[in-house]
Symmetry: C2
Subunit: 340 residues, 2 copies
């Protein structure tokens, strides 16, 4: 290797970087079922699989404490971890959180963070089983490890979608992204003011989607009650487009998503209009939605609809690619974003 060569990560992009990192590893352990590349790692525990995910949340990148209350951050940290377990059709069980803390933080601030962690652990019935802390030079660093388990015949990977399967989506998209744009606007407007009065009226929903996201455990439970095991699944943390592409790539399939079926909330439209931005871009590339994107056989259409879950498209042969279909029949290729 040329020691002086420098390839910018931006020229590769997040997803190719992850492929590159994971490629050279060969499994040595019998208990390793699924290696890197899904929402969670899968470990054989005899009668069932144990699921494991690991997420980093960094101040200044993933959250801004100017407007993100610490309790909500603690809650969200748990949700982020749990969402990965749900995306494998698993039941979340335990959570470990390691904190890097700079001297800016007081004991009371850490207490507030853990109030949120505790509330989320209660809501989702998971146990906090690890609480490491270390000093940090700059700001707050969160590392979240989530565990869960699933019966072996119920596990769902990104890779199981079949041609003609229905593409299903819980909840709506783009609201969290519009929420953060509103928060950023009000942060700028209030900057330096002695008595700041941020204007949030009428936008409670998009703020809640950003500041207090929920993990869709209810969806996993409803699917199980209806005897439905999705053929593939992924959680939407980076926006619909990149997650849909992950699913297509892992399943070696194409996908058609219909633009007029994308669930977008009223407040998301209203905020987008106010900010002269495109709500569809928010839905496709916004991120932080923590909804579930999954596929089921065509025969499950009535049951899925009865559950109030949106069917936004269907799976196609691999050579057709992943496409967004506009109301007038135009086909637009989906593009991943990820960070650069």
């Amino acid at each position: 290797m040329d020691k002086n060569k420098r390839t910018e990560i931006s020229s590769l992009g997040e997803f190719k970087l992850i492929d590159r990192i994971c490629a050279p590893f060969q499994s040595e352990q019998k208990s390793t079922v699924k290696e890197a590349g899904d929402d969670a790692a899968v470990i054989d525990a005899g009668d069932r699989y144990i699921l494991l995910s690991n997420d980093l949340m960094l101040e200044g990148v993933n959250f801004d404490l100017t407007y993100f209350p610490l309790q909500h951050l603690g809650y969200k940290a748990v949700v982020v971890g749990i969402s990965d377990i749900l995306a494998m059709n698993g039941t979340p069980r335990q959570i470990l959180i390691a904190l890097g803390i700079s001297s800016r933080f007081s004991v009371e601030m850490i207490d507030l963070f853990y109030e949120g962690v505790r509330a989320a652990c209660q809501d989702y019935h998971v146990d906090l089983v690890g609480g490491d802390t270390s000093a940090s030079v700059n700001g707050l660093t969160l590392s979240i490890t989530a565990t869960g388990d699933v019966e072996k015949d119920k596990i769902v990977y990104r890779s199981g979608a079949n041609t003609n399967d229905l593409v299903c989506l819980s909840g709506d998209l783009g609201a969290a992204y519009m929420g953060i744009h509103l928060l950023e606007r009000e942060k700028r407007a209030c900057n330096g003011q002695p008595n700041p009065h941020p204007k949030f009226e009428g936008y409670e929903y998009i703020l809640r989607r950003q500041l207090k996201p929920e993990a869709r455990m209810d969806i996993i439970e409803h699917l199980a009650q209806n005897g439905i095991v999705p053929t593939s699944m992924i959680d939407i943390s980076d926006g619909l487009a990149s997650e849909a592409l992950h699913l297509c790539k892992a399943s070696d399939k194409g996908m058609r998503i219909y633009l007029n079926r994308l669930p977008i909330a009223k407040q998301t439209y209203a905020m987008a209009e106010e900010l002269h931005s495109d709500p569809v871009v928010a839905a496709l590339n916004g991120g932080d939605d923590y909804e579930l994107l999954f596929t089921v056989p065509l025969s499950k259409q009535a049951e899925i609809s009865a559950m109030g879950i949106d069917i936004i498209g269907h799976i196609t042969a691999p050579d057709t690619g992943a496409k967004l279909i506009t109301p007038d029949g135009q086909e637009i290729a989906l593009r991943a974003q990820g960070w650069k």
Copy 2:
């Protein structure tokens, strides 16, 4: 709670902060065996326990890339994770590493890091099963999740030490700490020089202990071959003093450690002399040793000695506290450091 109250974390210290964080959590999941407070969390997997640890390593706090080669950092990240599993008498199985990367890092640099990760995974027969990456504002952030397993009757906690048990220690102490002082000295000496020639001759051992630590899987294997299950165990990542105190607190016991039995390497003494510092302080509070501190019944004395493991003291009643005994019979109370 008084919203304006601010208690500095430094006034509480790392270990009381962790106690405070972990205290209010009640376990809800049947599979949660051991909650926060040991080297790893313990999850019931039917016929055995699964072990889980989570560590953060932050640039500028835990490593300095001026002198820490990226391959070595990748290797050390795996060692740090594995060491927690070994401290529970477990066999390491899988590792997940999440990276926060700033724009300073190129693809080639990340490749070097993963060369080290790969080498360590091969040496310790663990599988890398997760490879998340995210953008970071400042420097490199590593989150390491390690898994392992252990037969239920072989698990070792911090809490099982009995009065009169022997206190045993693998390897030697303080070398990694002296290694980092040497590296820092040469960094200052070479700062701004066009052709820096750091002086490392004669200090290869202490440099290796800092830059390429090993996890003591060999000790766990030897103990198993000799049919020895320690009564308590912990890995030494923060220095002997704080780990000994953790062990005493968890076991509700006291400890006597004999100063003249502390294993300290020649180069550690030599470097300490050069720097006018105390090698015993390095051994007690230096950190980064990744050795194992454990207790066994008195009856195992001959076998432990035959394995070449140092016996540095013994367990006493709780009311005697944790003491360091000098050659002239003085008793010095052990004090924890941790970060503040």
